[in-house]
Each structure stands twice: as C-alpha cells, then as structure tokens.
Symmetry: C2
Subunit: 366 residues, 2 copies
Amino acid sequence: MNSNLMEYLKEKERQIVDYIKSDPIQNLIKPRHIYEGVLSYLYRPAKRLRPSVLLMSCGCFGGEEKEKQAIPAAVGIELFHTWTLVHDDIIDNDPLRRGGPTVHTLIKEKSRDEWGLGNEPAAEYGTDMAILAGDIQHGWCISAFADCCLKMGVNALTVLRIIKYLETHTLCNLINGEAVDVQFSLANGSRPVTVINEDRVIEMLWLKTGILYEFAGLAGAMLGKDTADINDPDVQAIKTFTGKCGIAFQLQDDILGILGDEEVLGKPVGSDIREGKKTTIVLEALKNADSRQRELILGILGKKDCTDEEIETVRKLFIDLNGIEHTRKLALGYIKDALPYLDRIPDSKYKQLLYEWADFMVNREF
Amino acid sequence: MNSNLMEYLKEKERQIVDYIKSDPIQNLIKPRHIYEGVLSYLYRPAKRLRPSVLLMSCGCFGGEEKEKQAIPAAVGIELFHTWTLVHDDIIDNDPLRRGGPTVHTLIKEKSRDEWGLGNEPAAEYGTDMAILAGDIQHGWCISAFADCCLKMGVNALTVLRIIKYLETHTLCNLINGEAVDVQFSLANGSRPVTVINEDRVIEMLWLKTGILYEFAGLAGAMLGKDTADINDPDVQAIKTFTGKCGIAFQLQDDILGILGDEEVLGKPVGSDIREGKKTTIVLEALKNADSRQRELILGILGKKDCTDEEIETVRKLFIDLNGIEHTRKLALGYIKDALPYLDRIPDSKYKQLLYEWADFMVNREF
C-alpha cells in the first residue's frame, strides 16, 4: 500500500540530502557548534513530506524537467520547516527531535563535555547557539529558493514572488500559530489567558501546519507552470488541496501522539500528555467526561512528572470518551474536502502520488 | 559640522519610518505581543546609518531616481539589523535598547502586568515571543528587498543576487561574530575557552559590524548601477570603503561605551565594563598595566554588580593606560585606509555625503 509514494519519498529524501551536502554555503557556517547545530536535524531520517509535496505539485504541471529545477526550492522548504522546529524546540523546552537531542540540548551537552561548563551556563549557551543556528537555517532557506533561479534557470520574478509569499503570509501565520500555542499552554490550570474551544484548536492546526503545506502546493505549482501569478486558478487549487491535507496530517499526528509506537515515531509517546497539549482529542474527551473522569484527566494533563500508569489512564479515557474517534473523523473530513480540488489537474503520475499522499496523511503510523 | 549628513540622515529616517508604517505586512503580524515586539525598536529614534549608507552608495551611481527605488532595500537592511539586535539582546541578557526596554523585557513586563504571570514564567514568555518577533523581522526584511523589484521595478535578478548575498555571506559572518562573542564572554575569568588577542577582537568587529556595512555599500551600488554583478569593480570599491568605515564605527562605539554621555547615547554607560566586554581598549590597557593595575581591572571587569565608583576607577585606568587613545588611532587608521576606495567614484552630492559619513564615524558623540 502506498508503495509508489514510499519509493518517491525515499528518492526525494536522497536528492534533498545530496543537495544539502553539496551546497557551498556550509563553508561559511562557523563556529563549529553553530555548524553542528545547523546540520543536525537535516541529516537525521525524516519523511521530507513538505519538500516532496512541493515537488509533486510542481510535477503535476511541469513534469520531470521542472521537478528537477525545483529541487533547491524543495531544500528551501525543508530548511524553512527546520529552522521553525529549532526555534520551537527552544520555546517548548523539548529535549528530543527526530530521534536525537534537540539543537539547544545537543550544544548544551557539547559545551559541558568539551569545556566543563556548569549546568546552567551550558543550558544558556545551548539556547543562545540554537537561536543563531535557526537564524542561519532561515537564511539558507532563502538562499536555496534563490538558487532555483541562480542555478536552475527558473524565472527570477517567479522565485521572488514565492520568496515574498513565504516570508510574509506563510511566516506570519506560522508564527502566530506558535505564539498562540505558547499562550494556550500558559492558560493551563486556572489562568484562562485565552478561551479554548475546538474552533480555536483547529485554527491553530491550520496556522502551525496547514499553512506550510499550502505554501508547498503553491510554490510547487508556480514553479511547475513557471508563473509568477499567485492567483492562477491551478496554483490556488493545489494550494487549497495541500493545505487541507496538512491539517489532516496534524490531526493524525495528535492521534499518534497518544496511540503511536515510540520506536516507529522516534519521539517519546506520552509527551503530549505531559506537556498538556490542547488537542481536539482532549477537548472531545472532556466534553464527554463525567465529573470524576474530568478531574482525573485535568489532574494528569500537563503534569511534567506523571507516571507511565497515569499516562495509560489518560490514554484509555481519550479512547473511551470518543476523543480519538472524533479526531479521526475530523481528519477524514479534511481529506474528503480536499480531494475535489485535484479534479481540474490533468492526470499524471504526480497527481496519482498526491492522491496516495492524501491517503497516507490519515492512515500513516509514523 | 557634518550638517549636510545630519540633514540627510533625518530625511532618510523619515522616509524609512513612513515606508515601514505603510507596509501592509503589518496586518499579518499577530498576536498582539508579537506585533508590539516586532515594531518596538523600529519606531524608536535611531541614526539609521546602515540604510542611509545603502542609499548614499546607491545615489553615487544612480542619482536620485535610483535612490528612490532603493528605499525598500534601505528598510530591508534596517529590518535585518533590527532582528539581529532582538536576538542578540536575548543572548546578551540586555535590558535596554534605543532608550527603551529590549523586546524580551518589554513582553515579559506586559505579560506580568496584563496576566499577572510570575517573574519566571513571564521572563520565559518574554524570551519566547522575542525569538519569534525577530524571526518575523527577518522575513519582513526579505520581503522589503523583494519589493525593490515587485513595487519599485528594479530588475528581479539584481534583487535576488542581493538577497542571496545577504542571506549567505553577510548572515553567516555576522552570526559567527555573535557566536564567537558569546564564547569570548564565557572565557571570562579563569576558563580560557578561546585565546583572545587584538587580532581576534578586530576580527570580531569586522564580523559583527563591518560585514553589514560592507553589505550596505554593495547592495546600494548594485541597485544604483542596476547590475546583478557582485564583482563589478565599483561595487567592490564601495563595499570595501563602507566595510572599513564600519569597523571604525564600532571602535568608536567601544570608546563611547567608556567615555560617552548616557543621556546622548540612550544606553547605560558602564555596561560594557559590567559585562566584561573584550575590546581593544581593555587589551591595550592590560598590556600597559602593572600587576596592581591589572588586578584592579580584572577584579572589576565583568562584575555584574560593580559600583559606580569601581566603574570610574576602570574608566580612568583605560584612559591612563592608553586604551582609549590606542583605539582612537586604530579607528582613524581604518578611515584613512578606506578613503582611497572612493577615488574611482565620480563626484556628486552622494559621494560628498559618504566623505562626511566617514568623518562622522570617528568624530561622533552619539
């Protein structure tokens, strides 16, 4: 199942890593801790969904030739995604990412091991370097997009419009999502900084994830058609399709955060519960809970040091109180909404891959 | 003295602020704390030297017409400078910037006042939002450069090459400078993480300041000549000139950090001493100190809670031990080196302004 997609993803992963490895910008990245921070996530195994969606969307209109020209843009969106992860990981105090330490944790440990720094100065140094490493990746991202023109011969105006869209519309919405997310988590417990309901949670999913998938479709289609017109109907159709599937992706992510296999995911399951992450799963379960169940959930949710047994209790309640099933239905709804937007696109292996990708969004286990 | 330059700077300040105010990207910047963080430094009084140098360099080749087209690029370099300040202020734990609170301090205070957050969560929230506010400014910077083409009609390829240069060469060197700076300050006291001598301090000045002034000259000249050729001899000449003057600017900044008037500067004098900033002033003074003086300086330098009297003691030693005079001579040397690079540029009011600017770099008191 999805074997074409899996093969395609593997091929793109290789092309993306090869391109990253060959980019001479790396010679400019110093000192060593910054260099190691900038590259760490990039070489860890990852699905590379955003760059692949960009390339599939490109192929739908421009075939293999345009897809090849768009490789730097695929690298660009991967770098964009990566710098936001590096900064978000600092903000969320996360220790792990893609099966290894987060950038701030990695550099903290290095400074402790290499220089014998104490715990506190090492943590501060790690955070400082991780902020800067993310900034470098942000710049590298823009450089990669520019290379679509400077190295691959794509029209300069097309590339400029894509860059402008990414750095205004996409960036501002994405950061709005992250900031609101932080405000959500401050509202934990008794302090109602913001009022949280399902609409707001979904809006946040759109901001934090849908928006970058929208961009992947938009940029890919513009490169495939070689058009600088953001309002082109094909561009808009693909953009809507990839954005809706992106929300389904995130809903599925929340499900895997509760039910998923730690080994397969490469991140600690239960961390969503420990962090008190506000998901549609939580809201639905709370809606259906009696007062005892409600108290049980709220007592454990966001408890940083809760036991495996407590995690298991909450997990079971989320299932029994329809939280998981409700969220799965939401995800399927987004995919169903998304599919008709592909109708106007001519048939091709790329269109077929987009269909498989949409299916993978709600049926994946990793 | 320098009255033409002062008038020019005032006019550009107005044009830059007007352009910033009218940029529709602001409607996208949410939530409110991020919006306030993004805009806070931009509207505080500032010299706007980097954008003005870009515009003067542009005018040297393209006159008033090209200078007008380059206004978004001037805004872009101001935004670039600003986001690096916002992130550096987090890293350096600085409370003040341009006569007001730093972004992370501002948002910390707002969250405390508005939501009643405790000191620690408020500080963490302030830092989180400041990281994101800087990221938005980074994106806005690129958007502004893109507008040179999209709104002002400059050749798209010229703009793309400028953006690529900024986001690779300029950015990587600048961040290298900031990272090495952090490592320098870790080397404070007994832990010699890095070996510090005058050559390394000057290299850091070049990275942290010279490099962005180089870019200002380079981008301005490319826009003025409407060339996408970074290696154009005029572009290279102006770039070298503005870079060398930029180092002189920073050396003078270090002098003002010791001798300057707090009121005029808008930042606390003595903070360089409290932070233990490694400058050419410090190194020269230590070189000429006897063992008692050396002990005195090292005992106070980097002492966060040192008294005004101790500051005064160190200040006097820096003067008596030739630290100030030596640094002033270094600065004058850079200006002297820089001036011949303007010889190839035809005479104009813009060239005259660049001469005045070079003079201002070493004779300013604010």
